[in-house]
């Protein structure tokens, strides 16, 4: 589905070029859940942004469904079927939750259908559907709404950039359930999750370890995960219990 070939990304740094990613090559097959992990500053989020078209690579190619998308912008890639969930979701004054979900779905969903996406991320749909996506929402609420919009988008390939960042434990447990459901339903779709949470690594088909801008290891969960346990690439979250929202 997605093929990354010799991808590099440099940024100017005090007159020189700083290498953020160096000659990354990866293949994401159809119907797989891939988790990209690694220490902080290893280039994981940059890679996610390069896939979505938010950043442009210095060198290398990206192919999606066999087509070279290296020079395509964010909109074109989204229309081809690449979805992206932000690590730090964006706030909008005036835009309501239902507006974002409808824009994501690309059609005028009725309220019941739109609410289903909120319920899927553990939010009481009735309370949130007409709320503005503004600073009145907490980080955790915003994150769940972000994931609801990505679910509504139903892309062929969805990239989640550190979905656990900034959310409370309660939401985190729910988030794992969302990914597990996605995992069961993906079939011909694929998911890439940038994360170093052990519980997310546990549901991966394949794990890629990025370190200092290069692929250090790649392989199936059973091959890679044992090496990572206890390192910064596989952090344990305290376990909370999500019992569903009462509304």
């Amino acid at each position: 589905m997605l093929k990354i070939q010799d991808l590099s990304f440099f940024v100017p740094d005090d007159g020189a070029q700083k290498e953020i990613l160096k000659n990354i090559s990866l293949t994401v097959p159809e119907g797989k859940l891939i988790v990209i992990t690694g220490p902080n500053g290893g280039g994981k989020s940059t890679l996610a942004k390069l896939i979505a078209g938010i950043e442009k690579p210095t060198d290398g190619k990206i192919f999606f469904q066999g087509e070279d998308i290296t020079d395509l912008g964010v909109t074109e890639r989204a229309r081809m079927g690449i979805g992206f969930a932000f690590q730090q979701p964006v706030r909008f004054k005036g835009l309501k939750v239902i507006d974002l979900i409808r824009l994501a779905a690309g059609k005028k969903l009725n309220v019941v259908d739109a609410c289903a996406f909120l319920s899927a991320v553990g939010l009481c749909a009735r309370e949130y559907i007409d709320r503005e996506v503004n600073s009145s929402l907490s980080g955790g609420e915003l994150k769940r709404i972000e994931i609801a919009t990505v679910l509504a988008r139903n892309s062929l390939l969805t990239v989640f950039d550190e979905p656990e960042a900034g959310i409370d434990l309660w939401s985190f447990t729910n988030l794992i359930e969302v990914f597990q459901r996605q995992r069961e339903e993906i079939k011909n779709r694929s998911i890439i999750i940038i994360s170093h949470q052990e519980r997310i690594l546990n549901i991966a088909d394949e794990i890629v370890v990025l370190d200092s801008g290069s692929v250090r290891t790649t392989g199936s969960r059973d091959e890679v995960l044992p090496e990572l346990i206890g390192t910064a690439s596989a952090v344990q979250a305290c376990r909370g219990t999500w019992k569903g929202e009462d509304c």
Binding site: T75, F86, F92, L95, D99, L103, T149
Partner: protein
């Protein structure tokens, strides 16, 4: 009601009307009242010595609406109209005003509506005013609304004042005097484009204990347009006041926000917030990841901001 196509379009744009509304109304087209209806509780009477109407709403009137839209389709009309609203004690009503000007001619068209609201004790009123301009003539579309609000004890007024688009020049002047326990909520939305200019000036006097005002003005200045927002709250008692100017600038748009708070009582609590900036890049990118083009994303953000 016999209106031409352009007037009908304007009426739809400013008051969402396809036909005469339910309840009381006065529809003014090209400087004449073309349709008027009073009801048992709402009496609309033309002024004798000036252009305009007096609207008397009986005490205890609940759930009724009054529509008083103005449309102008002839180039060169210049008028000042005085409308006074007397809202009886304990009433709870909605008033829908607004003015649409279509100017395809060489001469400026101008409507200055002077609205005075006398809101009775414990009465509630929701006021909606939309301004809109269209037409490709060189003549300007000018609207200078003056709104004066006099609020008795424990009354409540909510005012939604919107300039949608197409108004070349506007000076909006709003003043309010609030007695004890009265509350005023204003939501203003201003969109200017091309070389339009908009000035919006508020002076709200909180004169009684426990009176409160919440004034929020959101603006978008595109192209080479200019907006100046002057929001002043004067606290003369143990009151609460909040004003907020929140603006987006695009292209070569310019916005000047001039907040002013004056506290003349030690128990007055007054807050002002102001923010001006362009559309955040990350907002555009988020919507683009949902498949919108950059210009579609921009429109969505602005429509949401001004909704």
């Amino acid at each position: 009601m016999d209106l031409g196509k352009v007037q009908q379009m304007l009426l739809k744009e400013i008051a969402d009307l396809d036909a005469p509304p339910k309840g009381a109304y006065n529809i003014r087209s090209n400087s004449e009242s073309v349709a008027r209806q009073s009801t048992e509780n709402v009496n609309i009477i033309p002024k004798e010595n000036a252009s305009g109407i007096d609207i008397f709403i009986k005490p205890d009137t609940k759930g009724e609406s009054v529509h008083i839209p103005v449309v102008i389709s002839e180039s060169g009309i210049k008028e000042t109209v005085y409308n006074d609203f007397y809202i009886g004690e304990n009433a709870d009503v909605e008033i829908v005003a607004g003015c649409g000007i279509d100017n395809c001619g060489q001469h400026d068209s101008q409507h200055d509506g002077v609205h005075r609201f006398f809101v009775g004790k414990n009465a509630r009123v929701r006021y909606v005013e939309k301004h809109y301009g269209s037409g490709r003539g060189e003549g300007k579309r000018i609207l200078n609304p003056v709104t004066e609000v006099y609020m008795e004890e424990d009354s409540y007024a909510e005012m939604e004042m919107v300039q949608i688009k197409g108004v070349d020049d506007t000076t909006r002047t709003t003043t309010a005097d609030l007695k004890a326990g009265a509350k005023l909520v204003v939501r203003e939305r201003l969109m200017t484009h091309e070389v339009q200019r908009a000035f919006s000036v508020y002076t709200v006097n909180l004169n009684g204990d426990s009176s409160a005002a919440d004034i929020v003005s959101r603006g978008v200045a595109r192209d080479n347009s200019f907006q100046k927002l002057d929001l002043k709250i004067v606290g003369n008692a143990a009151c609460k006041g909040h004003t907020e100017c929140d603006s987006i600038i695009m292209d070569n748009g310019k916005i000047l926000a001039v907040p002013a708070l004056e506290a003349n009582d030690v128990d007055a609590s007054l807050v002002h917030e102001a923010a001006i900036g362009k559309i955040a890049g990350e907002q555009l990118i988020k919507l683009m990841t949902l498949g919108l083009s950059e210009s579609e994303a921009e429109e969505q953000i602005i429509n949401g901001f001004l909704s």
